[in-house]
């Protein structure tokens, strides 16, 4: 029997929960249930167990999205994941949201992916996801984020969320539109198992924006 994983994603402000056995998805809240955008973690988790016939006691590892993204939403699932890990003495592994959305976007597009999300105004988080590797992750102001997007526009695709409206020779309509802002559970599971195979283990994780060491511009 493969490892039972609980997957939690919330940094885009829309919760999705998955349950998997080995590399097989047992439950995916984005297709299996209609929780009407509920923000109650328990409702999602209970649905996961009810639909999969498993119990929380069966879970071997929790993978949780640690952002960057919506801080309140991220913190809600992170607090939940940490407590599950504590109460069951199982690992809790933090997943970088840009790895999740980068991986998801790259699977279908076969191109490098620029991952970008708004932070506290007027700043952005951004990074480049290419061939399974996340690089250039940084916390930047709008001007730097714009330059980054323009630099990669011809060669990359875009995931996350941004809206640049200023013209400066580059009309609003000319800015690229991100294809996705959250990963599918299947894609999340792929990144999670890869991390696990590399030996990543932890018992407590924190939202990324809270321990970002990059200087604020």
């Amino acid at each position: 029997m493969g490892m039972i994983s609980l997957l939690m994603q919330n940094s885009a402000g829309q919760m999705s929960i998955g349950l998997a056995e080995g590399d097989c998805v047992l439950f995916d809240s984005t297709v299996d249930v209609d929780l009407n955008g509920s923000r109650n973690v328990e409702a999602y988790v209970q649905a996961a167990f009810a639909h999969s016939g498993r119990r929380i006691a069966d879970v071997d590892c929790v993978f949780v999205d640690i952002g960057p993204g919506g801080l309140g939403a991220t913190r809600t699932t992170v607090a939940f994941a940490n407590a599950v890990g504590f109460a069951k003495s199982i690992p809790v592994i933090g997943m970088h949201a840009f790895e999740l959305i980068g991986h998801h976007a790259a699977q279908s597009l076969q191109k490098p992916v620029v991952c970008i999300r708004p932070a506290a105004r007027p700043n952005y988080y951004m990074a480049l996801y290419d061939q399974g590797i996340l690089s250039e992750f940084s916390f930047v102001d709008t001007a730097v984020a714009k330059a980054f997007v323009r630099r990669h526009q011809a060669t990359a695709d875009f995931a996350g969320k941004f809206s640049f409206t200023e013209v400066d020779g580059f009309p609003e309509a000319a800015w690229p539109v991100p294809t996705i802002n959250s990963a599918s559970i299947a894609s999340f599971l792929g990144v999670a198992l890869d991390k696990y195979a590399k030996g990543v283990r932890s018992t407590r994780v924190y939202p990324i924006s809270e321990n970002l060491s990059v200087k604020i511009l």
Partner: protein
């Protein structure tokens, strides 16, 4: 072993966890203060508060369970504050409690923090004589409630703007005193004379409070009287706030049949408040109940204590955060 409730309180800037039995005996408690984190901001900074809760909460829970040698099997329920309080801080406590409840298969209740303050008087195995009037005065709240018995709450009045504790802190800053402001203002006031007459907002009728006008009057006075005497201004401020509190309390004593007056919340530590309430209750021939200082400020023992009421009354297990929860809400 007696069944226990695990109480979790993260509504503002303290992470507190406690184990309390049905008789109000506090088997274990630990409260981690964020005082140092926020002191440079001159108030609670919500983002930092919820981040500090996230870091502290599980280690505190672990230490409390270990110190009392308790396993989840000994838990009758988990009670966690769902409001009023700061959204980000409430969410950390609620999410944590929710997950623990699911894994341990223990019922988990979202508890009204104000009910916790009111039940703080019964901690340490005490029990309040009813009917009772409860004056809750702290940095977060100012309210007067009438309790026919332990379960029936009637809110008589609350503040329309600042809490009294907030007002104390702001006056302390105006007077150049350190934080926490309450004890500093009280100390200065004890050495001064209330020779300045500050307004007594909303004193004439009803049970509602308002303190922002009093706070502004102190600031205006200090601005326009550069030679002011700190002790005298502090004394005049304390005198004005005490007049308001005691008038409202006296009004309730006159209108209701009471066995007890209980004063709870951080401001209940004020020697001046204690002395004035002592005097009023002696005159009226009713009991005065002042919980010890450790239960007067925000703590998880009072939340656990209130959770017993939720169980006994069969109240809903609602874990939805409500930053503006009122006393009448469960």
């Amino acid at each position: 072993m007696a069944e226990l409730i695990l109480g979790i309180e993260t509504s503002c800037d303290d992470t507190s966890v406690a184990l309390v039995d049905q008789n109000g005996n506090v088997v274990a408690i630990e409260t981690v203060s964020q005082y140092e984190i926020h002191s440079e901001f001159g108030g609670v900074y919500p983002e930092l508060a919820s981040r500090a809760h996230l870091e502290a909460i599980l280690p505190v829970i672990e230490r409390v369970l270990t110190s009392a040698d308790i396993t989840p099997l000994n838990l009758r329920a988990i009670g966690v504050t769902r409001g009023p309080g700061l959204m980000g801080s409430l969410l950390v406590g609620l999410s944590t409690a929710q997950a623990l409840g699911i894994v341990w298969e223990v019922p988990t209740y979202g508890v009204n923090h104000l009910r916790g303050h009111i039940r703080s008087v019964d901690l340490d195995g005490k029990s309040l004589d009813y009917p009772a009037l409860v004056l809750l005065v702290s940095g977060g709240h100012t309210l007067l409630a009438y309790l026919q018995n332990q379960y029936s709450y009637e809110l008589l009045g609350t503040t329309r703007d600042d809490s009294l504790g907030e007002c104390y802190d702001k006056v302390a800053r105006t007077l150049g005193l350190g934080m926490p402001g309450g004890p500093a203002v009280d100390r200065m006031a004890a050495a001064g004379t209330a020779c300045v007459k500050f307004p007594r907002p909303m004193i004439k009728s009803g049970y509602e409070f308002s303190f922002s006008g009093l706070k502004s009057s102190v600031a205006r006075y200090v601005e326009t009287h550069p030679e002011f005497d700190v002790n005298d201004v502090a004394a005049a401020f304390v005198d004005a706030s005490l007049d308001v509190l005691s008038t409202k309390v006296q009004r309730a004593i006159d209108q209701k049949k009471l066995a007890t007056l209980a004063v709870v919340g951080g401001v209940a530590a004020s020697p001046q408040v204690r002395a004035r309430m002592q005097h009023i209750t002696e005159q009226a021939g009713i009991n005065l109940c002042l919980p010890s200082q450790k239960w007067a400020t925000d703590n998880a023992a009072m939340i656990a204590m209130a959770t017993w009421d939720y169980i006994e009354q069969g109240l809903e297990k609602n874990l939805e955060p409500k930053p503006n929860l009122r006393l009448s809400d469960s």
